[in-house]
Symmetry: C2
Subunit: 335 residues, 2 copies
């Protein structure tokens, strides 16, 4: 196994160079020679050693993908979009998870740099001290997917979530809701910040009083939605609507409401975020802000590729349009 150019050269009588050029279909090799070498290569099961090639060319055709948790359906979809597009362009992805830990994020970047990836696609956490500086010092291109980092906004491929989060909140307010709970995401994530800000701003702009204890920070997990809403109900606080940072939280919340005999959407309306694949198939199809996840992954890779191929090109922020899909967890919805 693992025949090398050297062996092909020995077996064919040509030099290593000629074999290499033949295999890469260079124009200055005699077609007949190519043919001979080609057949020999496939007979011997030759596989080009990309490690050696990369060392020589300085290109690995591999990018690093750093996500918080690739099993989260949102990230999973984005990553699929990335992988599909990358493969199409002859790139492969090295995947790492950080569980939103800044330390692991740093470490992941370092390791991926060591592996000489051609670029980085990351969903980073907001950090206190100098993480941006670290990124800024990178010599390879990088794109931030679905999030932003202060000072690096131009590196983002992101959706218009602030606008849509506000629209969702305004929907509630206009419908007369005054006790809207916001199940927020982790504060170290830019999307949490944006969605929460939009939630607040919608209240402020409409002069709607907002009780601070209606904003509940979570890690964005399924169980969080369930537990937080369960305990909210137990505390007998009045809830008339729930705006969730993501569909997982919304799903947990719906379950908690159901267990407590609270009718959705009559007594409580619910809007989630991300529009996961299963959301429209739930018993009560979930109203949600629909983010084009695969497209986001696709665009992120293409943006990265642009910068890999043209390192001097300036970065520009890319904003994808999302839209609210009103389904059965809201009173007003499409049929």
């Amino acid at each position: 196994m693992a025949a090398s150019l050297k062996q092909l050269a020995a077996a064919s009588g040509y030099s290593i160079n000629t074999v290499s050029r033949a295999l890469r279909d260079k124009s200055d090799v005699n077609p007949k020679t190519k043919e001979k070498i080609r057949t020999l290569a496939s007979e011997l099961g030759y596989v080009n050693n990309n490690v050696a090639k990369s060392l020589r060319t300085g290109k690995t055709n591999t990018i690093g993908v750093i996500s918080a948790d690739s099993s989260n359906p949102f990230f999973a979809e984005v990553i699929l979009g990335i992988e599909n597009t990358a493969r199409q362009f002859g790139y492969h992805i090295l995947l790492t998870n950080t569980e939103e830990s800044p330390e692991r994020e740093r470490e992941a970047i370092k390791i991926l740099l060591g592996k000489q990836v051609d670029g980085l696609l990351l969903m980073p956490v907001l950090q206190q001290y100098g993480s941006c500086d670290y990124l800024k010092s990178l010599s390879i291109p990088y794109i931030i997917v679905g999030r932003w980092l202060p000072g690096l906004e131009d590196h983002s491929v992101i959706s218009d979530e602030y606008e849509k989060a506000k629209e969702a909140t305004l929907y509630f307010i206009k419908n007369g809701h005054r006790d809207i709970v916001h199940l927020a995401g982790p504060s170290c994530v830019s999307s949490s910040v944006d969605r929460m800000a939009a939630f607040r701003d919608a209240h402020i702009e409409t002069n709607t009083p907002l009780k601070e204890d209606m904003i509940i920070e979570t890690k964005g997990h399924l169980e969080d939605g369930y537990h937080e809403v369960s305990s909210l109900i137990r505390s007998e606080k009045h809830i008339s609507a729930i705006f969730a940072f993501n569909d997982l939280l919304a799903l947990g919340a719906l379950r908690a409401l159901k267990e407590n005999g609270i009718k959705v959407p009559k007594e409580v309306e619910v809007i989630g975020f991300d529009d996961l694949n299963f959301s429209k198939y739930l018993y009560l199809s979930l109203s949600s802000v629909s983010i084009p996840k695969k497209t986001m992954g696709n665009m992120a890779f293409r943006a990265l590729l642009d910068h890999i191929e043209n390192p001097k090109a300036p970065y520009t922020k890319k904003v994808l349009e999302s839209r609210i899909v009103y389904r059965e967890t809201t009173l007003v919805h499409e049929p």
Copy 2:
């Protein structure tokens, strides 16, 4: 950026070799020398070039992971288990999706071999012609995750799904069901084969008549469950229970039942497979065969690692125990 050993050597006055050995904390380097070199390295932002290292050592500390669709929550969980464990052992994963296409599977293997991965973790499709031969000819170790391939059973890390699928079907039969629909998975996947066989065998062993048109092959997607059950209902075929190849199909089926005003579990009982994270939080928490997905990924990586470190070790099939979780979509369930 990208300081090399050479530059560190020049800057420190030591030879390349000494710098290399110091950085790798070899015992035969003067501690003070080490210290000097270390600080210099971090000042210059030295990052070890793993491509060069791999070329020299013949190890990449990277494994290839080939899945059908990493956005499918089942695979996503397994992959997370793989990635977490791999990282723990200093390995990284190169992820590729095949969408159950044999051609893409072959191509993926070839590319990953070219990238010199130290091993392969795959969820392969059953193939007609000689795919096993291809795998058998590989010079690197490989483990088949959650599936099997004829003749390569020893390479599998898998769950006892045949047994549990039979148990689930028997549950239905014992409860008096005679019109049990099986929403099957794609026939090119071993788990579909096993679960369907178990479904049949349970009927045969209990002398329960089984109508062929109650077995419906699907691609295992959410929409398939919804559409197949919808059209089943439209055709006015009597259904009293549904055994789904996976939870996604079950979820789609539940939605179809709900839209048609069919009560679960009173009129139709449903059991899914995989026990996805969200299944217990559904409006009707879903009864399902619970596969330890992360553990499976974990074990698969460890098995692979064993063979990477000890290439001569014989392969042995590893079977993980799964269990049926009876929830609200079955009449009998835990509280």
